[in-house]
């Protein structure tokens, strides 16, 4: 039907062109043939006269011309009207007109009728724009279903970049939102979410302010209000380093988007902690909003909308109640009034783990932060504060990223190494005189007890942490090395230590984990490559290493995993994820325990070391009392203290313990930076957290409280933290 109509129309146009041609030809013929037609003859005769050369002005003469039938095209013709002399030229212009109209009609016919479909599609594509709407992230729970991270719907006031030049609008925004003029102006100039994207003026505006802006939209040109979900943390800084924080995706992050993840400019993504590690799981699916947008990018009409779907929920192995105790213990010890320096130490970490499957029950690090500070973008002043040396870097997760000398906690591992190579056994005894120069180098090395321990076996050596016993063991390792003419590897001791997971990442489901360091001759050469004379490996290096001093570095998490292996014989991979559940509460991912390796240690050697560890706690009143506060008998615990020396700083206090001694279930590793003596400073913290674990296990401990983030303030440490060692 349509085709027929179009054919009809085109026919009409052709007819019109034909009519035009007809008139042209007709006038030509008439002029040429000049048929006599009554009175017209008279007029024609006048025509001829007017066509006489007279510079356009017709001069009228009564003399009629005779030649009424001259040749039509003859230019010399003086007959007829002037148009007759140029008839062929008329035809030329007529042909031009026909060509113009014909070509245009043909072209438009092909565009508007033949290929109209594809143009219509393109017009629709121009007309409609699909905008992705942000999806709420999944929630985060602890092992018992306590909600640790939830979502809150907020009204966000956004402004186009162009508003930065509009003083009136900034003035009005400032008045309505109650934010100082220059802050509004700064926020609009902030390009961190992309040069073209809208800038957040107020991340969480009040309902009535938003209503005012909506009602007076003319006065707020370029300002829009968006409903967004932001993270909310019911317990403040509780487990902040585990949970991590979220933020607007950066341009660098957009370049490395994982294959199965869709990230749009302006989206919120996990930046640290499990928010970052399980970002794929937590992120929801964008909603799609089909809108009509004009060339200025203004939304004219919303055509259709599909809702965004929330991401999966993550359930952690963390026990919020134990975590709360761990966070509190550190905060109370280090910054009793919220100011670092008024307590003991300047930072610290506690890691509590289930030794049977590697589940992390608590992981605390101090100083800490409240992830709420990051919702809607962290304020510049807070960021600056957290980046200063005086704040001791609250964003650093010391449990996995803080590296410290292992100190005497290393002795459990080095004892096992000595037993394996026969440099120690259940009979062998050494003599401690308080200081030692087994290499006859003239450089004396001290035992922590300068008075000396006298005649001493391995059991007592571990229990009282006698350094001389271990110097002797290290000396045996040194001389047995190939370079010294012996038969075993020069790095035999290091290899035994490495079997407990040191010098490598534990593989916990967090990013930013440090591997630590076990110094070797090779490492020393590399390290001193610019000063080759210092790169020479000496016996003293090994005697330092054997007691966890010198260049060896470990993380609190590594020590927890290492002691779990000493307690059970299995080196586990630590993990925070219990399971991932979808929005219908069905588990989609469940974490399976993973034994990384089984160190080849003889059972009798384990037994010997474990027995000694069982007696470490009872020697320290601080530790005994701390356990008693939670109703725990110290003799059901295996533990080790440690006091690490750091050049120019206070000692690092260590306390690692596992429980119950006979059938281990939990391990707690505690480390206090510049804290001082291991037993006195770190011991009670570790004992309290272990007590909390045991209470929680019985179901006696369920309370979770709000934890404050670090104030970022500090004063000079009141105690030196470098009193005489006590381990």
């Amino acid at each position: 039907m349509v085709f027929a109509i179009v054919v009809a129309i085109v026919t009409l146009v052709v007819i019109a062109a034909a009519v035009a041609a007809f008139f042209i030809i007709r006038s030509r013929n008439e002029g040429a043939v000049g048929k006599p037609r009554g009175g017209r003859d008279v007029v024609k005769s006048i025509d001829h006269i007017s066509a006489l050369p007279s510079h356009g002005r017709p001069s009228v003469s009564p003399t009629p011309s005779i030649s009424t039938s001259s040749v039509r095209t003859a230019p010399s013709s003086t007959t007829g009207r002037p148009s007759e002399t140029v008839h062929s030229r008329f035809v030329a212009v007529g042909v031009l007109a026909t060509v113009v109209f014909g070509a245009l009609t043909a072209k438009l016919w092909s565009m508007q009728v033949l290929s109209s479909g594809s143009y219509k599609n393109e017009a629709l594509q121009n007309k409609y724009t699909t905008v992705a709407t942000p999806a709420p992230r999944g929630l985060v729970y602890d092992a018992n279903g306590v909600l640790l991270v939830k979502n809150r719907t907020v009204l966000t006031v956004l402004a186009d970049a162009s508003v930065a030049e509009n003083h009136d609008v900034i003035q009005r925004l400032s008045a309505v939102l109650g934010i100082p003029y220059n802050i509004v102006s700064l926020r609009i100039q902030n390009q961190s979410s992309g040069a073209q994207s809208q800038r957040v003026v107020a991340a969480d505006a009040r309902q009535r302010d938003v209503a005012f802006i909506a009602e007076h939209s003319d006065a707020f040109e370029g300002v829009t209000v968006q409903e967004r979900t932001v993270r909310e943390y019911p317990y403040g800084a509780l487990a902040a380093h585990v949970l991590g924080y979220t933020g607007t995706v950066s341009e660098e992050e957009l370049l490395t988007v994982p294959e199965n993840r869709v990230i749009e400019l302006g989206d919120t993504v996990g930046k640290s902690g499990i928010e970052a590690y399980y970002d794929n799981m937590l992120a929801g699916e964008h909603g799609q909003r089909r809108v009509i947008v004009d060339s200025q990018g203004r939304v004219v009409e919303v055509e259709s909308e599909t809702q965004a779907t929330r991401g999966n929920d993550v359930h952690l192995t963390i026990n919020a109640a134990v975590q709360y105790i761990a966070d509190l213990e550190l905060a109370n010890l280090i910054a009793p009034e919220g100011v670092i320096g008024k307590g003991r130490g300047v930072g610290g970490a506690v890691v509590a783990m289930d030794v049977t499957d590697g589940s992390i029950i608590a992981m605390a690090s101090y100083p800490t932060f409240d992830p709420t500070t990051f919702t809607g973008g962290i304020a510049q002043d807070v960021w600056d504060l957290y980046s200063t040396e005086e704040s001791y870097y609250p964003l650093l997760n010391r449990a996995i990223s803080g590296t410290y000398p292992a100190a005497s906690t290393y002795k459990a591992y080095t004892s096992l190494a000595g037993l394996k190579y026969g440099f120690a056994d259940d009979k062998k005894k050494w003599n401690c005189e308080g200081s030692w120069d087994g290499f006859n180098s003239g450089d004396w090395q001290n035992c922590w007890d300068l008075g000396g321990h006298g005649e001493i076996d391995l059991f007592r050596g571990i229990r009282v942490s006698c350094d001389v016993v271990f110097y002797e063991i290290a000396k045996d390792f040194f001389y047995a090395g190939v370079t010294q003419g012996g038969s075993i590897s020069d790095t035999a001791l290091q290899e035994e230590i490495a079997k407990f997971g040191f010098g490598q990442q534990t593989g916990i489901d967090l990013s930013g984990e440090e591997a630590g360091r076990i110094p070797t001759p090779e490492w020393k050469v590399q390290h001193w490559v610019d000063v080759p004379t210092e790169g020479y490996w000496r016996g003293g290096d090994l005697t330092n290493l054997v007691i966890g001093q010198g260049d060896c570095l470990i993380t609190p998490l590594q020590n927890a995993v290492g002691y779990a292996a000493v307690a059970t014989g299995n080196l586990m991979r630590p993990h925070l994820l219990k399971e991932v559940r979808n929005t219908e509460d069905q588990p989609v991912v469940t974490f399976e325990p993973e034994v990384v390796s089984v160190p080849d240690v003889k059972p009798e050697h384990y037994k010997q070391v474990r027995t000694a560890l069982n007696y470490v706690g009872v020697d320290s009143d601080a530790v005994v009392n701390a356990f008693e506060e939670w109703g725990v008998d110290v003799m059901t615990v295996g533990s080790k203290t440690g006091t690490g020396e750091v050049a120019g700083k206070g000692d690092v206090a260590w306390y690692v313990c596992y429980y119950p001694f006979d059938k281990p279930k939990y391990v707690v590793s505690t480390c206090i930076e510049q804290g001082g003596g291991g037993a006195i400073i770190a011991g009670p913290v570790g004992a309290h957290v272990m007590g909390a674990l045991i209470s929680a296990d019985r179901g006696d401990l369920t309370d979770v409280g709000w934890v404050a983030g670090s104030s970022g303030k500090s004063v000079a440490l009141g105690t030196t933290g470098a009193e005489a060692r006590t381990d």
């Binding site: 007017s50 356009g56 002005r57 009228v60 008329f90 007109a97 113009v100 508007q112 143009y119």
Partner: protein
Amino acid sequence: MPEISNITTGNPISPGGNRSSRRGGLPSINLPFIVVIALLVLYGLVVVYSAVSTDEDYSFTRQLAGVGIGLVVMAVIWAFDYRRLSDYTAVFLIINVVLILSPHLPLIGVNTMGATSWIKIGPLPQLQPGEFAKITVILLDASIMARYQGRLDDLTEYLKAVGMMLVPFVCIMTQPDLGTGLVYLFIAAVALVVGGANVRYLIITLVICVLMVVAVFLIDEVIKNASGEYKLLKQYQRDRLLVFMNQGSTDLTDEGYNLQQAMIAIGSGGLFGQGYMQGSQHALGILPEAPTDFIFCVLAEELGFFGVLALLVLYAALVIIGFRIANASSDMFGVLIVMCILGMWLFHILENIGMTCGLMPITGIPLPFMSYGTSFMIMNFALLGFMGSVWAHGMENTRRTSYATPH
């Protein structure tokens, strides 16, 4: 006006047709002509109304005012006997030069986007004298060729005529405004062809023109190699040409984007269009310069192929009526005036519609009676006035009045 014709005629046997029309009380009113003009102008206003409705920078009232002034101008010129102008070739030449060069004058000249094409006098709106000069260019070219009475075989005379016709072109290229310059050249070409210039001369002139265009490109290339940049053709002119040559290319410059959006607007109109005031391409501001240079896209988008055909039929009717008026004219000057006017409109129609659908390269030439713009509207009404004048005064000694008047 009837008195004048009476006196000039001074003939007792004056045409009966003329007389009869005078008896009807409406002397010299060509009804089909008036109807076609009315339809075209109304159609244009309807389309412009839709085009300006979404853009605050344009005012429909101003366009209406342009039509109002244009009607007055048309009536005055219609009543005026064009034959009085036939001897003023030199005057037209001077007026042309003054008009076209006036934007170069200090105080009133306005330079926008690299071209000195506008003047601003006191509180008057900004005007484009090159637009009004189209009238005097037509009168100049017609008066030059009229004196040869349809036959020009003398080479010296031919060269003299061509030389005079080239003066406005040379002047406009100092602004520079190539688009308007091409219109002047086309008017001159129509005047030469219709004016009876020797066919051999015409062909040789055409060949020389083609060679000169080629030469311009070659010399420009040499200049670029020597100095590092093109001097003769401006970059935007090159871009437009490149866009025209590489249609459908995905690597789009601004010009290419404009053309693509224009073609989408036209094509998406389909047979019946998206509906009046419903065109998404211009309503959303995607279509560039919708009310002015790309007005045709608005029409094609909203009213479809039928709307487009209606416009083309109206234009064709105007051209046919023009032919009839020229054919009936009693003197060469009138013939040439009408034919030059038709030629100019044809060029505008071809170039404007052609550029929007990819047949011609993009230039800023408006569509007669459709495009937004007061200067252009008044100028077109003036041209209609001249056509009317030729019809009313040019046939006074002919019997062919009946030809164009209804019975």
